[in-house]
């Protein structure tokens, strides 16, 4: 990921800003330009998602990609937020063996990566068991 792309996505990554369709009330994350339900009659507006959700599925990463070496093993989960959208997030602050499908989580602000020791630090959301 390059710095410009990270910078463009800051509202989504920091604040879970997605979109909500004024026509059908569907909430979408990441944001889209067209409502998949209403198509042309859809009316999408920025919408801050509630920070609570549930773990739908997860895996434990033992062989991490570059930049995550110090954190393995860690749980990577699909979280369904209260308002419907699903997203992939690391589960932080826990023993990955404790994580269960159906666990309640809250989204928290953490470091998600960096461009090496002298590069930009990427912040964004992770999930924490509640």
């Amino acid at each position: 990921m390059g710095v410009p792309r990270f910078w463009r996505e800051i509202p989504n990554r920091y604040n879970l800003i997605g979109v909500k369709c004024k026509n059908c009330n569907r909430v979408l994350f990441p944001p889209r330009f067209i409502c998949p339900g209403c198509r042309r009659v859809g009316k999408l507006e920025p919408h801050k998602l509630k920070d609570r959700g549930k773990i739908v599925s997860f895996t434990v990463v033992h062989v991490p990609p570059n930049g995550f070496e110090g954190q393995a093993p860690y749980a990577l989960a699909i979280v369904e937020l209260e308002e419907g959208p699903r997203l992939t997030a690391q589960i932080t602050d826990c023993d990955p063996n404790q994580v269960k499908i159906g666990d309640d989580v809250e989204m928290v602000f953490r470091r998600v990566g960096q461009e090496g020791e002298d590069g930009v630090i990427y912040y964004g959301y992770k999930a924490r068991l509640v």
Partner: protein, 348 residues
């Protein structure tokens, strides 16, 4: 002054390192260290935490308690001695993460452990001068002591945030006054590009901590014509458990006034977070009409003293966000090797 605290919030990382673990590695007598420092364990940040993430969670909690629209926050100051970037303000990251951008001023402050309270004073002045409706002051740190240094027992991580605004319906406490005491005292320092601080050993006590804390506190009490008996609580900077209790005694305060805000025993010295977390712990339990003395200390050296009077709004606001003890009590103990990995003393 006609300013008060509109909201407050804290964050303390989850991992804990006990004195026994550090003592085991370096061959120290754990019981002696615990007695000497009046400290049992310290908080340790996770691998994905830094001063910015700690500041953000504390700030979010302050916004929840404050019940304010973040767009009305006109200034954010983040005080720390462990900003993640040397150049690139932590305050910009916090401002974005609480959606206070773009119409605000923001800056990072540095003054060892008192950079957060320096931010409170700036916000007080700006609110009083009607430059803005609300200002946010944050003190947050992920402090490091060199391996084997006595600081390793205490250097911890955590943060506190305050939203400052005009007194009135929204204020959960009023700030009656503030006084500072500052000198050039080389008791503790860290040079550019150096990973760990150095300190003057015993020199950090009498001419540094005690001189500055008592001078700032006494000046404030004189200015407001108050004595220790007018306060229900007192919060002093907490480099260890011993100093705040000792300085309280020198100033005529009892340990009963100090203990509710004395968190260092369970979380260590959170540096810029220390006095702000202590104040928050007191606000978590204080009743309207009770008065709190808060005195920070930053090496180098200086102290900021504040007199805070709790108001009725505390009763409705305090349960709007997690309390200090919620964070203190969810600790996970780790051993020294895990600590060494988390703090990157060991790197693969």
């Amino acid at each position: 002054m006609d300013v008060g605290i509109i909201g407050y919030g804290v964050y303390i990382p989850r991992y804990r390192l006990k004195v026994e673990e550090v003592a085991r590695v370096w061959g120290d007598d754990a019981e002696r260290v615990k007695r000497g420092l009046l400290l049992e364990e310290k908080s340790v940040p996770g691998p994905d935490e830094d001063t910015a993430t700690i500041a953000v969670e504390a700030a979010c909690n302050a916004v929840k308690r404050g019940g304010v629209d973040p767009k009305e926050i006109g200034a954010i100051y983040v005080g720390s001695e462990s900003h993640p970037y040397a150049v690139k303000p932590t305050a910009t990251i916090v401002a974005e993460a609480i959606e206070a951008t773009p119409n605000l001023t923001a800056a990072d402050y540095e003054f060892a452990c008192k950079a957060g309270t320096a931010g409170i004073q700036t916000c007080m002045g700006m609110v009083e001068a009607r430059m803005m409706k609300y200002g946010m002051a944050i003190g947050a740190d992920t402090a490091q002591g060199a391996p084997g240094d006595p600081l390793e027992y205490t250097a911890a991580a955590g943060g506190g945030a305050l939203i400052i605004g005009k007194n009135g319906a929204g204020a959960l406490a009023t700030i009656e006054g503030t006084c500072s005491y500052t000198t050039d005292t080389p008791d503790f320092w860290r040079r550019e590009m150096q990973p760990y601080p150095r300190h003057g050993g015993r020199f950090t006590g009498k001419p540094a901590y005690f001189k500055h804390v008592t001078s700032a506190a006494s000046a404030l009490l004189r200015q407001l014509q108050l004595t220790s008996r007018d306060f229900a609580y007192a919060v002093f900077h907490q480099p260890n458990g011993k100093f705040p209790l000792q300085v309280a005694k020198e100033l005529g305060f009892s340990s009963e006034q100090v203990l509710p805000g004395l968190l260092v025993v369970k979380i260590g010295n959170t540096y810029s977070g220390s006095t702000m977390i202590g104040l928050a712990a007191v606000l978590d339990q204080a009743k309207p009409g009770e008065r709190i003395l808060m005195v920070s200390y930053g090496s180098g050296a200086g102290s900021d003293a504040f007199s805070v009077m709790v108001q009725d709004a505390i009763e409705t606001k305090r349960d709007m966000a997690p309390k200090v003890l919620d964070y203190v009590n969810r600790g996970i103990n780790i051993d020294y090797s895990t600590y060494a990995r988390l703090r990157r003393l060991l790197v693969r």
